[in-house]
């Protein structure tokens, strides 16, 4: 089987491409918008919606790749829970360094997210929904606010949707900052107006989440995939993918390429195609050395991995994670030690401070990397980095996976670019430094 002529191939971005920018309510409706929400509420039971999304094999696009329909099924059925709200929360806290996909969807097609949330709410029986939005995403806030007002005016949100008993109250929480808010239980604490410290699991949010009520947290891109699945079915969705995973993916490339950007492509597109075709290849004079495939908290890959498909299983088998699917490229002008230091600075700063290995360990690693980068490294430092990375990064030594994510790029940098670390220590200086200085002098 293959995709039929006339069927959608870019369910996330085609409307944006056609509109040449913002898709407003009229444009969204003209393109068949909100018909899927109507269908989910008036023609399908919640279980049917969940089963369809399960069958389509939609996996979470926030980075973890957990099957969305399965997650929805973890909400206890009405007869097994006390009376009260069920919450749907959209994780729109996009703070993974190198990631710029959810902002695009919210700024240009906010109704797609809203429709996805209506359908998800139907699937889990939620009556209240929140978009947990990054504080710095001002334009996304403006567009979502307008879209929520428009959707409410036409009866897509609020009471008695499509003349049924189904209701949905949707509002936006503007975050006060901090990367840890992307962790789903920390996000729930922030939503409750508290410090964003991760919670112990279990209980997991579907059983006890926001304000102790059943709660599902889904990423923006995940939710934006849902209306298309309702419109076109599970078989169509599976055919969209080019590997073992289903659907399309918003892939991005940043770094020294000719055309950095974001593209909706079949999930499973190879890294090589992303870099060489869509991103236009490396800029003249620069050679690719390292790839962070899905954000700052994913392990480095190298040029030997270019022909791998960007899907969950393939990238995991190569020792990394697809993560958010927006890759960051390290070229030969970038010092791997300095890049590792930059990454550890981020993770050290963004630790919520609750667990000792993360709070104390990450700044300690950053300092050691700074010393090596500045030419103050000593023999044995790399072994010290290895040992402490293994300890700090081991899942279970900390409450959440922040420190684990922090160690992924470091441990892999130590593996793939070890000669660069060694050169710093042996030469007592950064071998890249003169190059940087020369380049700046030329630019000046």
């Amino acid at each position: 089987m293959e995709i039929q002529t006339g069927q959608e191939t870019k369910p996330l971005t085609q409307r944006i491409i056609d509109a040449g920018g913002l898709v407003n309510l009229a444009t969204y409706e003209a393109a068949g918008g909100y018909a899927a929400a109507r269908q989910a509420i008036t023609e399908m039971t919640p279980a049917e919606v969940r089963d369809l999304v399960k069958e389509a094999n939609l996996r979470g696009r926030g980075g973890a790749g957990f099957p969305t329909g399965v997650k929805w099924g973890f909400v206890p059925p009405p007869e097994k829970r006390s009376l009260g709200h069920v919450y749907l929360v959209c994780n729109a806290d996009e703070m993974e360094p190198g990631t710029f996909k959810d902002r695009y969807l919210m700024e240009y097609d906010p109704h797609l997210l809203i429709e996805g949330m209506i359908i998800a709410a139907r699937a889990i029986g939620a009556d209240v929904a929140y978009v947990f939005l990054r504080g710095e995403y001002y334009e996304a806030y403006r567009q979502l606010t307008q879209a929520i007002a428009d959707a409410t005016r036409l009866g897509y949100l609020g009471e008695r949707l499509f003349d049924t008993d189904f209701k949905l109250h949707l509002s936006i929480h503007r975050s006060g900052g901090r990367y840890i808010c992307g962790e789903e239980t920390a996000l729930l604490n922030a939503l409750e107006g508290k410090r964003a410290q991760p919670r112990t699991k279990p209980p997991f949010p579907p059983a006890s989440g926001a304000w102790g009520r059943p709660t599902i947290v889904n990423n923006v891109e995940t939710l934006c995939n849902v209306p298309g699945i309702l419109r076109n079915g599970a078989d169509w969705y599976q055919l969209l993918g080019s590997g073992e995973d289903a659907g399309t993916k918003l892939y991005g490339v940043s770094g020294r390429v000719n055309k950095p950007g974001l593209w909706e492509l079949p999930i499973g597109t190879t890294i090589r195609e992303l870099i060489e075709v869509h991103a236009g290849g490396m800029k003249s004079g620069y050679t690719l050395r390292g790839i962070l495939p899905g954000g700052a908290s994913t392990d480095f890959l190298t040029t030997e991995h270019l022909d791998l498909k960007m899907d969950y299983g393939t990238i995991q088998a190569a020792g990394s994670r697809m993560g958010t699917g927006t890759m960051i490229l390290m070229d030969d002008s970038v010092c791997p030690v300095a890049m590792a230091r930059n990454l550890q600075h981020f993770f050290a700063q963004e630790s919520c401070g609750f667990c000792t290995p993360c709070r104390e360990g990450l700044p300690w690693l950053e300092q050691l990397l700074a010393d090596i980068d500045a030419g103050r490294g000593k023999p044995g430092d790399l072994e010290l980095l290895d040992k402490n990375s293994a300890f700090i990064g081991a899942p279970g030594n900390t409450f959440c996976l922040h420190a684990t994510g922090a160690i992924e790029p470091l441990a892999s940098a130590l593996k793939y670019f070890r000669e660069d670390f060694e050169a710093h220590i042996e030469q007592g200086r950064c071998p890249y430094a003169p190059q940087h200085i020369d380049k700046q002098a030329v630019e000046a």
Partner: protein, 163 residues
């Protein structure tokens, strides 16, 4: 010590209305803490001890409890800032795209380092984590406007827009 505590402490009608509108979306008043602090900050530039106290009163919580929240979040300012906030991305994509040079140009143009406010109170310069615009790296945010590398070639012209 404030000479007119009642006047200084009072939240404006607009601030109270905006905070109450947030509370309406939530099951209890304290849950609006982060939103409330940001509403007050948008009106006043930053959250002083007096503002914090007034906000805590409105939400029915202790000052210390609200302060523990205020000090956790980097977008909430517990000290005065300039009229405009410049947030310079220091995360990995901007680092790779020579964000250090942009930082050098910005600090030179402003005459202040990261974390400082210009003497005329016009700009506060802060580092920020990835702004989600890595295809335009290096990037920075001035108040609510995002600027990418292609625009930042003429830094002076951009800064001149913010008086």
């Amino acid at each position: 010590m404030s000479t007119e505590p009642d006047v200084v402490n009072a939240l404006s009608v607009q601030e109270i209305d905006a905070i109450e509108a947030q509370i309406a979306h939530l099951p209890d008043r304290e849950s609006a803490a982060i939103e409330a602090l940001q509403i007050v900050q948008r009106a006043r530039g930053w959250v002083s001890d007096d503002s914090l106290h007034a906000t805590a009163q409105l939400l029915g919580m202790a000052d210390a409890a609200l302060d523990s929240i205020a000090t956790f979040y980097n977008l909430i300012y517990r000290q005065p800032v300039g009229r405009h906030i410049i947030m310079l991305c220091d995360s990995v994509s901007c680092f790779v795209m020579d964000g250090d040079s942009l930082r050098g140009r910005v600090t030179e143009a402003l005459g202040v380092e990261l974390g400082q406010t210009t003497a005329d109170g016009r700009f506060t310069l802060l580092p920020i984590v990835c702004l989600g615009a890595c295809d335009r790296a290096p990037v920075m945010l001035i108040d609510d406007q995002l600027f990418g590398a292609e625009q930042l070639t003429d830094l002076d012209a951009i800064l001149a827009r913010f008086e």
